[in-house]
C-alpha cells in the first residue's frame, strides 16, 4: 500500500545550511496494517506524512502510495491520490462555521458526490465514530475528543484505503485518547491501512502494533507488535 525505497528529503535553511529530514529511508507498509511512526520532534515524522499526501516531493528515492508512483504523478491527478487517503490532524481542523454534519458532508461535497450519496454516507460514518447525536452541534460546542471523532469521520467518510493520523491524541487527555484509539482500531478492522505519527508512549505500548521509530531522519527500529521505547 505504501512503499519507500531509499527516500531522502532535505530542507534548505538559509544559505548552504541543509537539514536532512529523511535520510535514505526504505519502508514497506502493507494493505490493512496499523503502523505507529514514533520518534522525537524533528525526527522526520511530519515530513514522512507530507510526502505521502504529495504535499512535498522526495529529493531522491522512490515512493509509491496506493499503487501510484508519487515521483511521476501528474499534478492534476494528485486530487485522485488524496481521495484514497484520509487525514486526521492533531488540532482537528474542523470548519468553525459548519455543524458536525456539514463538516463531514463538506469532504464529499467538494469532490463532487451527489446529494443522495452524501445523505446516505454521512449518518453512517457519524454512527461509526459514535457522534450521531451531536450531528447538528457546532464544533465549539464539542469536547476535544468529540471534535477529534468528527475529524476522523471526515477523514473516513469517503472510505479511503489509507488513514493518516498526525498526532491524533496530541491534544487529548489519556482517557479520551483511548476512545479515539478504539475508533482507529475499528476503522483499521474495516480494511483501511492506518498510519499514525505519535509521541504518546502509553498508547503505543497498549496497542501492540507495528512500530517504526525515526531518529534524525533514519529508521532506527521497525518492530511488529512493538512498544514505544526500547523495551529490551
Amino acid at each position: 500500500m505504501i512503499r519507500l525505497q531509499n527516500v531522502t528529503k532535505t530542507y534548505k535553511r538559509g544559505g548552504d545550511d541543509e537539514v536532512i529530514a529523511l535520510n535514505d529511508v526504505s519502508l514497506e507498509i502493507d494493505k490493512g496494517e496499523f503502523v505507529f511512526i514514533v520518534g522525537p520532534s524533528g525526527s522526520g515524522k511530519s515530513t514522512f506524512m507530507k510526502l505521502l499526501t504529495r504535499e512535498q516531493l522526495v529529493d531522491s528515492g522512490e515512493l509509491w502510495v496506493a499503487g501510484k508512483d508519487l515521483n511521476a504523478i501528474r499534478s492534476w491527478k494528485i486530487p485522485a491520490l488524496r481521495r484514497d487517503i484520509g487525514y486526521v490532524f492533531q488540532d482537528f481542523k474542523l470548519l468553525p462555521n459548519k455543524s458536525v454534519r456539514e463538516n463531514v458532508a463538506f469532504a464529499l461535497e467538494v469532490i463532487g458526490k451527489s446529494r443522495r450519496e452524501i445523505d446516505i454516507r454521512v449518518p453512517e460514518v457519524l454512527e461509526l465514530v459514535g457522534i450521531e447525536e451531536k450531528a447538528d452541534a457546532m464544533p465549539h460546542e464539542l469536547s476535544g475528543g468529540q471534535q477529534q471523532r468528527v475529524s476522523v469521520a471526515r477523514a473516513f467518510v469517503n472510505s479511503p484505503r489509507i488513514l493518516l493520523c498526525d498526532e491524533p491524541t496530541g491534544n487529548l487527555d489519556p482517557s479520551t485518547s483511548v476512545g479515539i484509539m478504539k475508533l482507529l482500531d475499528r476503522i483499521n478492522r474495516t480494511g483501511a491501512t492506518v498510519v499514525m505519527a505519535t509521541h504518546d508512549q502509553h498508547i503505543v505500548d497498549s496497542m501492540r502494533r507495528r512500530v517504526v521509530e525515526l531518529e534524525n531522519g533514519v529508521v532506527v527500529r521497525d518492530q511488529s507488535r512493538g512498544v514505544y521505547g526500547y523495551a529490551g
Binding site: T53, S75, W76, P79, A80, L81, R82, R83, D84, I85, G86, Y87, K93, L95, F106, A107, E109, V110, I111, G112, K113, S114, R115, I118, R154, A155, N158
Partner: protein, 297 residues
C-alpha cells in the same frame, strides 16, 4: 442545480459579501477604467464618422479677386482658369461659388450666431472655385500651377483645417486611452489583491479541500467567479454611464455644431461587447495570476 455548482456559487457569493467595501471598491475601479476606455472607443467612432463625412466634402478653394486687395478678375481670366482647372488630370470636379452663394452658405453655417452674420456684408465674401481632387494629396500640384494666375487671390487646402482638428482629437483620445490603461492596470492589481485576501481568509477551508482531494478547479472556481462577477458588474455600470451620458452630450453638440455628424446610441450599443469582454478579461486574468500565486504558497 447540482450540489457542486450550488457550492461554488454560494462560496463566490460569500466572498463578495465578506468584504462589501472591498467589492464596491473593485467595482468602482473597474467602472472608472472601463468608462474611460469606452469613451476613447466612442471618440474614435466620432473621429471616423466626422472624417468620413468631411473627406467627401473637402476640397481646394481658389478664391477670386474682387478688386478689394487685388485687381478684380475679368470674365476672360475666369473662363481661362476654369478651362485649365478642368484640363488638369488631378482635378475631379470644379464648382463655381458666386459671392451670393458664399454669403448664403455662410449665413446657413452660422445661423446660431446672428451677431456674426450681421457683421458680415453680403458682398465681402469672395467668389471661388471649389475644386475637388481625385487624390486629395495632390493639393500642391494645384497650388503651384494656379497661384500665379491673374485674378487668383488665394488657394486654400481645406484638408489642412481638418487635419489640425483631427490631430487635436487624436491627442485627446490617446491621452484618455493612456489614463484608461493605467486605471485598468490599477484595477487588475486591486482585483488580484482582493482575490488573494479572499483566498487567505478561507485558507483553512481550502487546505482541507486540498487534503480531501478536491480538484484544483473546484477550489479555485469560487474565487475566479468572485473576480469575474465584480469585473462584469463594473463593465455593466460603466456601459450604463456611457449609455446615459454620451447620447445626451452628442445630441446637445449636434444642435450647436452643424459642421459634422455625431455618434448616437447605436455606437454606445456597439461598445457594449468590448466593455464586457474587457471587464471579464481583466478580472479573469488577474484572478488567475493571483490564484496561481496562492496555490503555490
Amino acid at each position: 442545480m447540482p450540489a457542486r455548482w450550488r457550492y461554488i456559487l454560494s462560496e463566490a457569493g460569500k466572498g463578495l459579501r465578506r468584504n462589501v467595501l472591498m467589492t464596491v471598491a473593485v467595482i468602482l475601479s473597474i467602472t472608472v477604467s472601463l468608462t474611460l476606455l469606452g469613451a476613447t472607443l466612442l471618440l474614435r467612432d466620432q473621429i471616423d464618422l466626422a472624417t468620413d463625412d468631411w473627406v467627401d466634402q473637402v476640397e481646394v478653394s481658389i478664391f477670386l479677386c474682387d478688386g478689394e486687395t487685388c485687381p478684380a478678375i475679368t470674365p476672360e481670366q475666369e473662363d481661362q482658369l476654369r478651362e485649365d482647372l478642368e484640363a488638369q488630370p488631378v482635378v475631379d470636379e470644379v464648382l463655381y461659388e458666386s459671392k451670393e452663394e458664399a454669403y448664403e452658405r455662410f449665413t446657413e453655417l452660422f445661423q446660431d450666431q446672428p451677431n456674426l452674420v450681421e457683421a458680415v456684408e453680403p458682398d465681402i465674401l469672395p467668389a471661388s472655385f471649389r475644386v475637388s481632387l481625385v487624390d486629395p494629396d495632390e493639393f500642391l500640384v494645384i497650388a503651384q500651377q494656379f497661384e500665379a494666375y491673374p485674378g487668383v487671390e488665394d488657394i486654400i487646402d481645406q484638408r489642412e483645417v481638418l487635419t489640425q482638428f483631427l490631430n487635436f482629437t487624436r491627442i485627446v483620445r490617446n491621452g484618455a486611452l493612456a489614463v484608461a490603461l493605467i486605471q485598468l492596470a490599477a484595477a487588475a492589481l486591486l482585483i488580484g489583491n482582493t482575490i488573494l485576501m479572499s483566498a487567505f481568509a478561507r485558507r483553512e477551508q481550502t487546505s482541507i479541500m486540498k487534503l480531501v482531494g478536491a480538484s484544483n478547479w473546484y477550489i479555485r472556481l469560487p474565487f475566479f467567479l468572485e473576480a469575474v462577477i465584480t469585473g462584469v458588474l463594473g463593465a455593466v455600470v460603466s456601459w450604463g454611464l456611457l449609455y446615459v451620458v454620451v447620447p445626451r452630450v452628442t445630441e446637445g453638440l449636434s444642435a450647436q455644431v452643424l459642421l459634422m455628424p455625431f455618434i448616437g446610441v447605436r455606437e454606445v450599443w456597439e461598445a457594449a461587447p468590448v466593455l464586457l469582454a474587457s471587464g471579464f478579461g481583466i478580472a479573469a486574468f488577474s484572478s488567475i495570476i493571483a490564484l496561481w500565486f496562492f496555490q503555490d504558497s
